[in-house]
Structures are given as C-alpha cells and as structure tokens.
C-alpha cells in the first residue's frame, strides 16, 4: 500500500546546521494498517509525514502509494491520495471561511476546481448528516465562520474534512496534542470510529505511549532519523509501556526523551 524506500532527507545541507532528519528510512504499510509512531523530540517523525505528504522533495529514495510513484510529485498533486490532520487546530481549516465552505473544499480534495457554484443543497444535506455524527451541534452552524469555533471543534472538523472523501492514506501528526484531555479523548474516539468504518490506512504520530499501544495494529519507534523498532501481532498485544521503554533504550542506547511524552 504505502512503500517508503531508503528515504534520505538532510536539512541545511552543507552548512554548520546540517541535520540528517531522515536517514534511509524504510517503511511498508499494508492496506488497513493503522500504525502509531513514537520517538524522542527531533527523531524525524513529523519530517517523515511531511516527506510522504510532499511538503518538500526528499534527497534520495522512493515513496509510492499503491504502486504509484509519488517521490517527485508536488504536495498538491498528492492530495488525491493523502489527507492529513496537523497538530495545530488552526492549521487545518480556513478561519475566515464558513464551515460549509471548508467542508466543500475538502470534499473536492484532489479534484479540479471549476468555475461553478461550489455548494448545492445535496452537499449541504450530506454535510449536516456528517456533522451530526461529531455530536458537537455543528450541523446547525453550516454558515458560521470557522474562526468562531473552539480548538477542539476545529480539530474535529479538520478530521471530518480529512475523511469526508476517503483518502488512500491518512496522516495524523499529534493531532490531539494541543487539546485539553477531554476534547483529545473525543477527537481520538472520532478518529477510531472513522478509520474503522472506512477501513483507512493510517499513520498516527503520538506522544502518548498508552495510545501508541492501544490504537491501531502496529507501533514503530523512530530515533535519529531511523525506524529502530517495529512492533506488531502478539508481541504488541503483550506489550507494556515499561517494556516498550526498555526496548527503546536497548535499541537506541539512550532514554526516550520527549517533552510531551505521556506514559499512561
């Protein structure tokens, strides 16, 4: 499904700030895989997701989705395959535009934008149904500007936007880290619901080790630009957090060092 092959990315090449953010990373995902990613600060987790989404082109290596080579495609041409939710609730929506305008733009993800009225009553009905599932009362606020929503509401909306038109691959980069615990739970619950229902292939970065083990079917750990552990199957079912940290220390030769890390 997703195949990341020996991807190398160096920031500030040739300067004193040179930094190898991705060091020949290899990662293969099967259809319906829900993979959680953990690792220290600066391990290259976000960089990996950015490389897949096409925020920048990688120095070498290959990235393909369902056999389509996307290594050289600009971000906007990958949009038909990939959708994502960022950590910052502000970055996933256009604040000055209404809820329904944001939704219709997501509904047309990866398609050619035409010179025709964007929203019809058919789409509006669909949006109402989908918003109702969030349970936040947004279905009655279609024409409200997104800037009026709370962070949690915006993140829930962003998640809906990412999955409204089923993507081949869903990328989540600590998408609940900026929310209060209760809202974070709610958004995670929604994430689980939609990934299961649509059978999405998902990559989720998290700083919560408990979530890393309970959500999805596979956990990978990154360290200094490399994938150092890949846990799945029975090994994962039997895994505990302390055992996980032990394995990390053995594989990396250092402590997991993440300022946002939550152990349980």
């Amino acid at each position: 499904m997703l195949n990341v092959h020996e991807v190398l990315k160096t920031f500030n090449q040739g300067t004193i700030n040179q930094k190898i953010a991705l060091d020949k990373v290899c990662l293969q995902l099967l259809p319906n895989d829900f993979v959680t990613i953990i690792g220290s600060n600066g391990a290259g987790k976000s960089t990996l997701l950015n490389a897949i989404a096409g925020n920048f082109l990688v120095d070498s290596g290959k990235i393909s989705i369902e056999g389509i080579d996307i290594t050289r495609l600009p971000a906007h041409k990958r949009a038909g395959l990939i959708s994502r939710v960022f950590q910052d609730p502000l970055s996933g929506t256009a604040a000055s535009m209404t809820i329904e305008e944001n939704l219709i733009m997501a509904f047309r993800r990866g398609k050619v934008r035409r010179l025709r009225p964007a929203i019809g009553s058919k789409e509006r009905d669909l949006f109402r149904v989908e918003l109702e599932k969030l349970g936040l009362g947004l279905e009655n606020r279609l024409t409200h500007r997104v800037s009026l929503l709370s962070g949690g509401q915006r993140q829930a909306l962003t998640l809906l936007m990412a999955t409204l038109e089923k993507p081949k691959l869903l990328l989540l980069d600590e998408h609940t880290a900026a929310l209060d615990p209760k809202t974070a739970e709610k958004v995670l619950e929604l994430t689980c619901g939609v990934t299961e229902q649509q059978k999405l292939t998902t990559l989720m970065i998290t700083h919560n080790l408990d979530h890393a083990l309970t959500f999805g079917n596979r956990t990978i750990m990154m360290h200094e630009g490399r994938v150092i552990l890949d846990i799945k199957g029975i090994e994962r079912t039997d895994m505990t957090i302390s055992r996980l940290l032990e394995m990390f220390e053995k594989a990396s030769g250092s402590h997991m060092n993440n300022d946002r890390m939550i152990l349980a």
């Binding site: 906007h76 949009a79 038909g80 959708s83 000055s96 305008e101 047309r108 993800r109 990866g110 964007a118």
Partner: protein, 300 residues
C-alpha cells in the same frame, strides 16, 4: 455648481471603485499587498488612449486595457511564485518596469483625447443619457463587476482563491496549486485596476505617465474606510463596503479640496488615512491593556 461637483465626484468615485475592487482581491482575498497597481492603472489609461487616438473602437480599446492589466498582474505573479521574490518587491519591480513601458506605449508623457470618441461619448448618445451618461455607465460597470466578483468568490475556483489567502498550507494539502491561484488573483486584480485607469482617462480625456502614482495607497485607504463603516460580516457585504469605500474616498478628497487644501497635499492626507486605520487597532489594544493594568494596580 454644487450639483455639478457632486455629480463629477460620484462619477469618479464609481470609476475608482472598480480599481478598489481590484485592490480588494489582492489585499484582502489573497492577503498580498500588490504595489503593481500604481503601474497597471497608468497602463490601462495608456493602452486605451493610445488605441483610441490610433482609431480603434473605444469599447475594444477599453477591453484591451483590461487585458494589458492582467498581463502586468501575471508578471508580478510569476516573479513571486516562480522566482520566490517577496510580494512587496515583486510589485515594486513590476511598477517600476511599467513606468518605462507606459511611456513606450504612449510614445510621450501624455496624450489628449479631446474631441475623440470614448465609451462615454458613445454611451451619452443613448436616449436620456445626455447628461448622466458618464454616471450611468460607471454605475452599471461597478454593479456588474461587483456582482461577477461576488458570484466568482462562491464558485469552487473562488473558494480556492480565498483559501489561498487564508491558509495556504491547508488548501495545498487539499490539492490546489496555490501558485496558480495567486497568479490568477493578481491578474484579475490588475486587470480591474487597468480597466479603471482606462475609464478615468476617457472621462478626463487625457492620459498621463504619472497618473497612477499613489493609486495603491488610495485603494488601501478606500478598502479600509469601507470595511470600517459598513463591515465585513459576509462576502457580499464586504464587496458593497469596498465599493462604497472607493466612492467615499473621492468624496473626502473633494471636500478637502473645497476646504482649500492644495491638490498636491492629497497624497499626504491619503497616507494619513491609511496610517490612522492601520494603527488604530494597535493603539486601541495598547490603551485597553494600559487601562486594564491601571485597574489591576488599583485593585491591589
């Protein structure tokens, strides 16, 4: 006397409102302060007058002025998106280049249209339009252009344009080529500015190589005045606000002139309007936090 001045001011206000709509597209929709405007306004005037003097039909010449403007915007857009030059500098480069180009187009520093056929002289031949031809044609044009922009901004393409100015990263991740959207917005905007230039030149019956100087600041002032007085609660309302801002700006200028200030002082006044509008939110915040601080100390 007064009625005549009032009519003349309204006529000019409506024509400048076309320019202000163009500035609104870049400044507010794209969040891009485009300084090409000074050059493209003159470009529109130069293109239309030169063609009219050369014997071209004025309606066609006016259309060509619009197209010339879109090319200027295209140039700014390419400088910014393909060569990664900052918005401000891209605009300044285009504006500077256009100064020479405009002189080339005109062949001299100014052109008179006295006695030539213009879109206004044509329109005034229609029944009942003898006296109010300029006013009516300008009004129709503004309403038409305002409506087209209104509907355009609700289309799929229009939403993509608005999102490009609001959250570029997000709309790119939804599959929109934001470079293309910026170029499109800049082209449309400069096209409208040039169109306004061709209207103004035909009304004044001359074009001058320096007639566009300060146009961007006048445009910004108009947008801000309109938004403050009428509000921005929806796209439709904002468009109406921007048009009214353009008209009102000319009214303010006319009043100031009547009060005895020199025409050469206008640029100073315009800058002052923009500075006041830009500074007032910060000043208001400062005052608010200052008085909150005082209140806090008193409470202690």
């Amino acid at each position: 006397m007064f009625a005549q001045i009032a009519l003349g001011t309204m006529e000019q206000g409506l024509m400048y409102a076309i320019m202000v709509l163009g500035v609104y597209l870049t400044f507010r929709i794209l969040d891009y302060a485009d300084l090409s405007v000074d050059g493209s306004f003159t470009l529109g005037a130069a293109t239309a007058t030169t063609m009219i003097v050369g014997g071209t039909d004025p309606w066609l010449a006016t259309g060509m002025a619009f197209i010339a403007g879109t090319l200027a915007g295209l140039f700014t857009g390419i400088l910014h998106t393909k060569f990664k030059i900052t918005p401000l500098l891209s605009g300044i480069l285009t504006m500077t280049a256009l100064y020479s180009i405009n002189l080339r187009v005109m062949g001299r520093a100014n052109i008179s249209l006295l006695g030539s056929q213009t879109i206004f002289s044509d329109f005034s031949k229609l029944p009942l339009m003898e006296e109010y031809g300029v006013f009516a044609l300008s009004l129709i044009s503004v309403i038409l252009i305002g409506s087209v922009i209104y509907f355009f901004l609700q289309t799929e393409l229009g939403l993509a344009l608005r999102a490009t100015g609001d959250n570029e990263l997000m709309i790119r991740s939804l599959g929109v080529n934001t470079d293309f959207m910026k170029i499109l917005g800049l082209s449309l905007s400069n096209g409208l500015v040039a169109l306004a230039g061709s209207y103004v030149a035909q009304k004044l019956q001359f074009a001058d190589a320096s007639m566009g100087i300060g146009m961007i600041i006048a445009g910004l002032a108009s947008v801000i005045i309109g938004e403050v007085l009428i509000g921005t609660s929806s796209i439709g309302r904002t468009i109406i606000a921007v048009i009214c801002g353009g008209i009102l700006y000319r009214v303010i200028i006319a009043v100031v002139l009547q009060l005895g200030l020199e025409a050469t002082d206008l640029k100073l006044i315009t800058s002052f309007i923009v500075i006041t509008a830009l500074v007032s939110p910060t000043v208001r915040k400062k005052i608010a936090s200052w008085s909150a601080g005082v209140a806090g100390k008193e409470a202690q």
